[in-house]
């Protein structure tokens, strides 16, 4: 079932010439099947979004992008192993400083071995959100818990009014996430990163000064419009913005399947003892 889904998603992205068409194709499919599924899955029709008892939007569910953002945030042609994409960056270009652009190019050349993804390391924020593997959101009044299928990453977005820690040198892999509501939009301020994660397979990167402001908004019961403003004065000449859509997994009995892929490197050393 999962293999079939992946194949379908890949076909959709390969056929598409732009993110807009990409989304359009999926939305068309969703539109065709949604009257039945939406009603049965979320008890919410088109335009209505699921809400908690408090009235706040309910992001609970298993989500995944269909975009090629992880292949490269900027517009790119097809290359071996990666479909083309019109990109997810507002204005198309990441405003790297001249020095940082050189590093990005080196990362790109070394991507077959240097991408932290290949070690199954925590993808970071925002990369974990648009990485092509599902993550599940569990939501309470005081927080949202994001469990990522890939690796061993659990991210908590606090919505209880607490502030970033007073000390700001923890250098988290996922950053420290504090959220607040602006109407139906969840705005999340994320700080206190290390410099170890990449933003895409194309070598896009950041430094410890990374500051991400996310905006999560349900545009219907099964689609999240995810936007992030990305700032790092050591690497970029100005803040820049991305936007991707996240789609709800609605396949029957779909669930996360733990993927502690870093264990695969030593899996061979742990055969289950068997009677000789």
């Amino acid at each position: 079932m999962r293999e079939k889904l992946s194949l379908n998603l890949k076909n959709v992205t390969q056929r598409s010439r732009s993110l807009g068409q990409d989304i359009g194709a999926v939305l068309t499919v969703c539109f065709l099947v949604s009257p039945v599924l939406a009603a049965s899955d979320t008890d919410a029709g088109v335009g209505k979004i699921p809400r908690l008892a408090s009235g706040k939007p309910d992001f609970s569910g298993i989500w995944q992008t269909t975009s090629a953002a992880d292949q490269g945030l900027e517009p790119h042609e097809a290359r071996k192993g990666a479909p083309p994409s019109a990109g997810v960056v507002e204005g198309d270009v990441i405003p790297y400083t001249a020095e940082a652009l050189e590093k990005k190019k080196k990362n790109y050349e070394a991507r077959a071995t240097a991408d932290p993804r290949l070690k199954c390391w925590t993808l970071g924020t925002p990369r974990g959100i648009y990485y092509p593997e599902p993550f599940q959101v569990f939501q309470r009044a005081q927080d949202l818990t994001l469990v990522f299928e890939f690796g061993d990453s659990v991210r908590t977005i606090h919505t209880d009014g607490t502030l970033h820690p007073v000390e700001t040198d923890h250098e988290f892999w996922l950053g420290d996430s504090r959220g607040r509501w602006e109407g139906d939009t969840l705005v999340v301020d994320v700080t206190d990163f290390n410099d170890q994660t990449w933003l895409s397979r194309a070598g896009d990167f950041h430094d410890e000064a990374l500051h991400v402001v996310e905006r999560w908004k349900l545009i219907d019961a099964n689609t999240i419009d995810y936007r992030a403003s990305i700032e790092d004065p050591k690497v970029y000449s100005r803040p820049w913005n991305i936007e991707v859509y996240l789609y709800r997994h609605r396949e029957k009995n779909f669930q996360l399947i733990e993927n502690y892929c870093y264990t695969l490197d030593y899996d061979q050393y742990y055969p289950i003892p068997k009677q000789q």
Binding site: P116, F172, T263
Partner: protein, 331 residues
């Protein structure tokens, strides 16, 4: 302890856990602390506390509930007996531990220490088939003489602790949602599905298995299949196979301060009969003395408002750099 110190402690614990199995000498030195705690049995702090624990009967739940009707057991928990040094003699240290403290310390009568985690059979031993007993003892001997890669516990390479070891390797958090109970461990996560969907296909094997649960009064009943069974139960090498079927009962006291994990492991390929494993746990709150082993949290930055526990991200393989890869390359 400052926030930074707390974080460093968490990192140190992770690093220590990894170093433990790689270098037996260092491991022996690291063992001194929990072993000493065991003997002193301090009222608060240390890993080992209780030598006995109360039975909790399954029955009605009289405590508070979540809006969806589940008993509200969310929060921080940790075992009350000992860590994963020794499965059947939890406060007995690691057999063959070469550390000076362990060498010079003479354990008293077995009855003075907490009982085996095996509560049935009554002798406290796993009912191994003879070949399986030999395999367990091979690992126990190899732990301090890791001449084969498989004698290094996978947890030391940041693999998930698996079932049941996750329940006695550091404190952990339970978060609950309609349809789910989620365990967030120091090494991996477990999602208990309460919606009755079927288990995953049998050929998919996972460190934490595939869990389906439901509530019966004060008891969370969980059916676990799809285990990869690579994690071992303890440094003494106890194991099941990928054929194991685990029927767990998390029996909570209505005062919401304790629960007992009582689970039946059935595995005809390894054991001669089903075996029951019992692990006592208690709740931790910010009212408790600070303890970064059982309760790795800091107070959130919430000026002028309620004191709330912050759980920082749990990261292992990344922060331990080349450890796992180094071992992989060498071997």
């Amino acid at each position: 302890m400052t926030t930074a110190e707390s974080v460093q402690t968490v990192v140190r614990l992770s690093v220590a856990a990894c170093v433990l199995a790689l270098a037996p000498i260092i491991a022996a030195a690291q063992q001194e602390q929990p072993a000493a705690s065991t003997r002193a049995a301090p009222a608060a702090g240390g890993i080992a506390n209780e030598r006995a624990f109360p039975t909790i009967e399954s029955g009605k739940w009289a405590g508070k509930r979540l809006p969806d009707g589940q008993p509200d057991v969310s929060g921080d928990w940790s075992n009350t007996i000992a860590n994963h040094d020794n499965f059947t003699d939890p406060q007995g240290g690691i057999p063959g531990d070469p550390s000076p403290v362990a060498r010079n310390h003479k354990l008293g009568p077995r009855a003075e220490r907490a009982p085996s985690r095996v509560s049935d059979p009554a002798d406290g031993e796993l009912p191994y088939q003879p070949w399986a007993r030999a395999k367990q003892q091979e690992f126990a001997v190899g732990f301090f003489n890791a001449v084969k890669p498989e004698y290094i516990e996978p947890l030391a390479r940041c693999a998930p602790s698996g079932i049941p070891k996750s329940l006695y390797w550091h404190g952990y958090e339970i978060r609950q949602y309609p349809g789910y109970v989620v365990f967030l461990f120091g090494s991996g996560w477990r999602i208990i599905h309460l919606d009755g969907k079927p288990h995953l296909p049998v050929n998919i094997k996972l460190w934490n298995g595939d869990s389906r649960g439901h509530w019966e009064g004060n008891t969370l009943v969980v059916d676990v299949t799809n285990e990869n069974s690579k994690a071992r139960f303890a440094r003494t090498g106890e194991f099941a196979s990928e054929n194991v079927h685990i029927e767990e009962r998390y029996i909570f006291s209505s005062d919401n301060k304790r629960y007992n994990y009582v689970a039946t492991f059935t595995d005809p390929t390894v054991y001669t009969r089903p075996v029951t494993i019992t692990i006592p746990a208690r709740r931790w709150t910010l009212d408790d003395p600070k303890n970064s082993w059982h309760f790795p949290v800091v107070a959130a930055n919430n000026p002028g408002k309620a004191t709330i526990a912050d759980h920082f991200e749990s990261i292992c393989v990344e922060n331990n750099g080349g450890f796992g890869q180094l071992v992989s390359r060498k071997n």
